[in-house]
Symmetry: C2
Subunit: 354 residues, 2 copies
């Protein structure tokens, strides 16, 4: 039995009793009952996922997985493939959006190369962890993007990342990604997973023009036809249409759930990872927070399909974990309120009369 199966066996349903304990404290705080709205639901779910009614808070961390995609050859991105390795350096070097937000909020940032086309591991960029599954995926218009061995390895890298962070005292993990053309891979996965027409899912990614958007939609349509027989099983589906970073993020979702650490899903591409993880392990989605409703393609529709409520809705479509970082700060704010507000008894505040 491999790491994946062992990890899967550790995942338990949410702990409703611990959520209840947290709710009791929420109702003792000096505010009208329920008046913190969704923040109260966030605290209850955090307690249920952590199996800890006192909702203790540790450190936050963001894991950004960076990888390239063979399907970039089909001209589906507004930016050249070289941007992936350039952004790998920029993220680890502190200049990317996620670098700024991680610094701002005090979150550890792990930048992990899981298969960028240019292999820089011999002269490594400072701050990058190299866990390369390959040098970009295959173009899924010509065959599967990955072997099932690669899928398993990428998933396990994600699981190990989550386990490692959890054992270092992290209690909230954000996932993010960077990889030119990965919104094409995510669109194909989400179209297959949600059973919706490609036109309702595919978006402009980093800013495609109209002909580019048409081409991208055709690519997704052709890929779904080509790999039709692989779509029944999540592992073969991931092999056919996925990417190393998407599989790794799915692995973090699985590993986080096993360690009772909530994983905060970023935007469109991270949601493809989360939805794939849910297909692999039904019920896993309860252990996740969805950070924001992205402006990319059919993300809003996908969130509805998954029956999840995003914390933020700011029309962001940048990836990297930027939405996750902002939402983690909301989650931590909710926990701060939970821990540090006075109770009615302690503050000498009168209760409800009608």
């Amino acid at each position: 039995m491999g790491l994946l199966e062992e990890t899967q066996k550790e995942i338990r349903p949410l702990d409703a009793e611990e959520a209840w304990a947290a709710d009791e404290r929420l109702n003792s705080l000096t505010k009208p009952p329920g008046s913190l709205g969704y923040l109260e639901e966030i605290v209850r779910r955090y307690a249920a996922i952590r199996r800890d009614g006192s909702a203790r808070k540790g450190r936050g961390a963001i894991a950004v997985f960076v990888s390239d995609h063979g399907v970039a050859d089909a001209g589906v991105s507004a930016f050249p493939q070289a941007v992936t390795v350039e952004m790998l350096r920029n993220i680890a070097g502190g200049g990317a959006a996620i670098s700024v937000l991680a610094r701002r909020f005090g979150y550890e940032l792990r930048t992990i190369d899981v298969g960028v086309r240019s292999d820089t591991s011999a002269a490594p960029f400072a701050g990058v962890t190299y866990r390369r599954v390959g040098s970009r995926t295959g173009n899924f218009l010509n065959g599967p993007a990955m072997t099932t061995g690669q899928v398993r390895l990428a998933l396990e890298i994600g699981v190990e990342t989550a386990r490692d962070l959890a054992s270092a005292g992290v209690t909230l993990i954000g996932i993010g990604e960077m990889g030119i053309a990965n919104s094409t891979s995510a669109s194909a996965l989400l179209t297959a997973l949600c059973g919706l027409p490609p036109e309702s899912i595919v978006g402009r990614g980093t800013g495609l023009d109209d002909p580019g958007l048409r081409r991208k939609t055709e690519v997704v349509t052709r890929a779904l036809e080509l790999h039709h027989s692989a779509l029944g099983d999540p592992m073969t589906m991931l092999a056919a249409l996925g990417g190393f970073e998407i599989a790794a993020m799915a692995g973090v979702c699985i590993g986080g759930a096993a360690c009772s650490v909530p994983v905060v899903v970023d935007g469109f591409i991270s949601t493809a990872a989360a939805a794939t993880a849910e297909k692999l392990i039904p019920g896993l989605i309860d252990h996740l927070f969805f950070s924001h409703r992205s402006a990319e393609g059919g993300h809003a529709r996908v969130l509805e399909h998954l029956k999840v409520r995003p914390i933020l809705s700011l029309d962001m479509r940048l990836g990297e974990g930027t939405g996750a970082a902002l939402a983690m700060n909301v989650i931590e704010s909710a926990l701060d309120l939970f821990h540090n507000m006075a109770t009615f008894a302690k503050a000498g505040v009168s209760g409800k009369v009608r």
Copy 2:
């Protein structure tokens, strides 16, 4: 000419050129153009309000105005009137939700008694600023809530608060309030200002039961009939239906605009203040940020009517400036990204190809 008129004369339209300068830098940062979504609009508006294309960031502060309402006698709140003074102490003492959030984000918290029924100024609570306009307003079922002299005084207290904070280096001011029965006052004002039926505006406040909600709606309906002739002019409308804290918050909106400091409006009651200020000085609303869509009554409808986009939507309905504090952190995050992300040129990242 009084402080109010002098201040009003200083208000200029937003500076579109400075917004344009900020936009140029936004487009030079290592991200797909526009991919930070509403965060980019926030930066542009901040620059336009501040008249500063480099969008420099100073300190943040939250001004919470606390006051009582005569209409509480009509049984329109789920909590007794004594809670106002109890919460005045709790907010300044560090135990309220806004106290926790202000501490978390490093915002100065000003807690200002503008007319709590119990006068504690002789043995003052630590941390409270006493600027009492009166000992609670009159019950507006029996006559106007305030004299026009009181309205002017409360507005000026708000203006002075904004000026004082601005001169101390504050570049972002959140407004909040506490006052048992003030959602009844705000409902009456918003019903009059938006021209919508009371049933579509009035909500449960701190948690009214069904008979309480019916009574509150009747109270608003009766008040609007009684004060019908006062509703054409914003000053007499505020006198008839408003509250000291609502007028003071409207004053902060005015003072902030005059000092080129963006004011961040909290929820339902703060929105009544902002809408009143906009009625007094058309165009003022451009200088404000609306922090969140509250779950209270018709707040969503009111925001639509005002044609403003809230930053957050978390079903909060607590007041005190809690939504403002959370949204200020989003605004500051947007400014951090603006200042600290690398440019394409500096990071050596390739540009768009299609």
